[in-house]
């Protein structure tokens, strides 16, 4: 399998004020000394094209920093990220945030939000409506296409933002705890809808999760991170065949993989 995302030796260090100094900064004083804070250290991984990778790590393991670097919002301090052999600035990135209320356009309808991705892609105006509707159909949200975004339930809103991300036809899809704000029942439905769409579109996906069942159920491989600074602890393959029934979660084999992930996670957190 060709690598879709190639992360080579990526580290990121921020210059932050020390504790006392950051209080000074809040008071409007200029911080005198700044100390470096390393968010991630020497991340090396090749992520196969079309695969689904979940990222599972404790607080301070640099998950968000990694996503910011892959999406081109921030540059790494050292190392490089290539997406389909292009630099990140030339690649197309789909992003689904946990907070759909603040990342989507509340003043537009559901379909209007999907259209934004098509506008960004430069799809001609007369084709946008049908195409956007098609993406909404893929997540079973065609029936709420014309509803204002603010009137949607949490699950519906997040499905629309997933539809928007796919409509952008990204090289890589980044999802930052997209289901964390939803209740259990809703997030079960969301996982199913996401996997169905992902299998149709075959888009390389990175998914930050803080729910171990979710992380194992969705993934081809689970990337467990160490904290302070964030680094890869272990990449654990998950090779249950797809489509996976939700009952898999109570299967003995699932439990074995889950235990392996949990074990690595715990070892990473231990001082």
């Amino acid at each position: 399998m060709p690598a879709s995302i190639q992360i080579t030796n990526v580290s990121k260090t921020y210059q932050v004020a020390s504790d006392e100094q950051s209080i000074a900064q809040k008071l409007g004083l200029k911080p005198k000394d700044r100390k470096p804070f390393q968010a991630i250290s020497k991340i090396n991984i090749k992520i196969p094209k079309g695969s689904f990778t979940t990222i599972f790590g404790p607080n301070g393991s640099g998950k968000s920093t990694l996503f910011k670097i892959i999406s081109g919002l921030e540059d790494p301090s050292s190392g490089s990220v290539m997406i389909n052999n292009q630099s990140v600035s030339d690649a197309r990135i789909g992003f689904v945030f946990q907070n759909y209320r603040d990342s989507m356009l509340t003043w537009r309808s559901a379909i209007g939000n999907v259209k934004l991705a098509l506008e960004a892609r430069g799809v001609p105006e007369n084709e946008r409506h049908d195409l956007a509707l098609e993406y909404l159909k893929k997540v079973n949200m065609a029936h709420i296409a014309n509803k204002p975004f603010y009137s949607l339930s949490g699950g519906q809103a997040q499905l629309v933002s997933i539809a928007r991300a796919f409509a952008f036809q990204p090289d890589v899809l980044l999802m930052d705890e997209p289901f964390s704000a939803l209740d259990f029942q809703t997030s079960l439905g969301m996982m199913e809808a996401l996997l169905k769409l992902w299998q149709e579109e075959k888009i390389t996906t990175l998914f930050i999760s803080h729910d171990i069942d979710e992380a194992v159920y969705l993934a081809d491989q689970v990337m467990v991170l160490n904290p302070n600074p964030g680094s890869i602890r272990k990449v654990i393959p998950v090779d249950f065949k797809r489509p996976r029934p939700i009952s898999l979660i109570s299967d003995k084999k699932f439990f074995e993989v889950r235990s392996k992930v949990l074990e690595e996670f715990r070892r990473g957190v231990k001082p």
Partner: protein, 260 residues
């Protein structure tokens, strides 16, 4: 009956009616006393104010004068919105513009409109144009400051997702920043029009014009026509109330997503 008691319109009427009733009782108690606590000359009953209004609207053309006041307000307000919104957008969006103009905005904000009267009279002469200029001045700063806040308060996450989608600067502005700052802009417009009403009445009282509600109030005051004075004040208040309702209605229609 129960439906009536649950209707907000019912209660919206109850307050004012009770007020007029109370006013009527106190005024007639005062006026019928052998030794009135407040000199009769300064007290008007609701009936007197009512008949004064009837007279003013009937014979003395108060309706036309109210329209003149309203016109001064609307024109001044419209000019300030036409300048203030683009200016605020530019100041909120371009840091360099903000820092170049920040001084003027904060400097002028602390100068009351009344203090600028002489300057405007000097420029525009005595009359309507001066009053409109004062209204424009007073409304402008409110609108500019609110618009700046609107642009500054656009959610970082929304900008981030637009940046990831590589939206052009223009698209980012038109499709994200402008719609999101509308709620602040509207709040500014609503405060501005109420404040503008205060300013237009005040200016009419002190800048020489022949007609207008403010003129009426000060004229009635100087010759102790207390009933006519309160009549003009009531009309002023009612216009202000109507304008605010209208602004709220427009706001609800334009930014239907707000607060949901």
């Amino acid at each position: 009956m129960k439906r009536l008691l649950n209707s907000r319109y019912f209660y919206a009427v109850v307050g004012p009616v009770a007020f007029v009733f109370l006013w009527g009782i106190l005024a007639s108690l005062n006026n019928s006393a052998s030794n009135p606590p407040v000199p009769k000359l300064f007290v008007a009953t609701p009936q007197e104010v009512g008949s004064a209004l009837w007279r003013l609207f009937g014979e003395e053309g108060l309706f036309g004068e109210s329209l003149q006041t309203l016109q001064r307000l609307i024109i001044g307000f419209a000019i300030s919105a036409a300048i203030g919104i683009p200016l605020g957008l530019a100041m909120g969006y371009f840091t360099k513009v903000y820092y170049s103009l920040e001084f003027f905005v904060d400097f002028l904000r602390s100068i009351p409109a009344a203090a600028i009267f002489p300057l405007f009279i000097l420029i525009f002469g005595i009359g309507s144009p001066s009053i409109m200029a004062v209204v424009t001045y007073a409304c402008l700063l409110i609108i500019v400051v609110n618009t700046i806040y609107g642009v500054r308060n656009v959610k970082e996450l929304r900008l981030m997702s637009a940046r990831i989608m590589k939206l052009s600067k223009l698209d980012m502005f038109v499709k994200i920043i402008l719609p999101e700052s509308l709620s602040y802009i509207f709040a500014g417009l609503r405060i501005a029009i109420s404040y503008g009403m205060v300013i237009v009445i005040f200016s009419e009282m002190f800048i020489g014009v022949d007609e207008g509600l403010g003129r009426r109030i000060i004229d009635a005051q100087t010759v102790y026509k207390i009933d006519e004075m309160y009549g003009a004040i009531v009309v002023t208040g009612l216009i202000g109330y109507g304008l605010n309702k209208l602004a709220l209605f427009a706001e609800k229609r334009v930014i239907h997503w707000e607060g949901k």
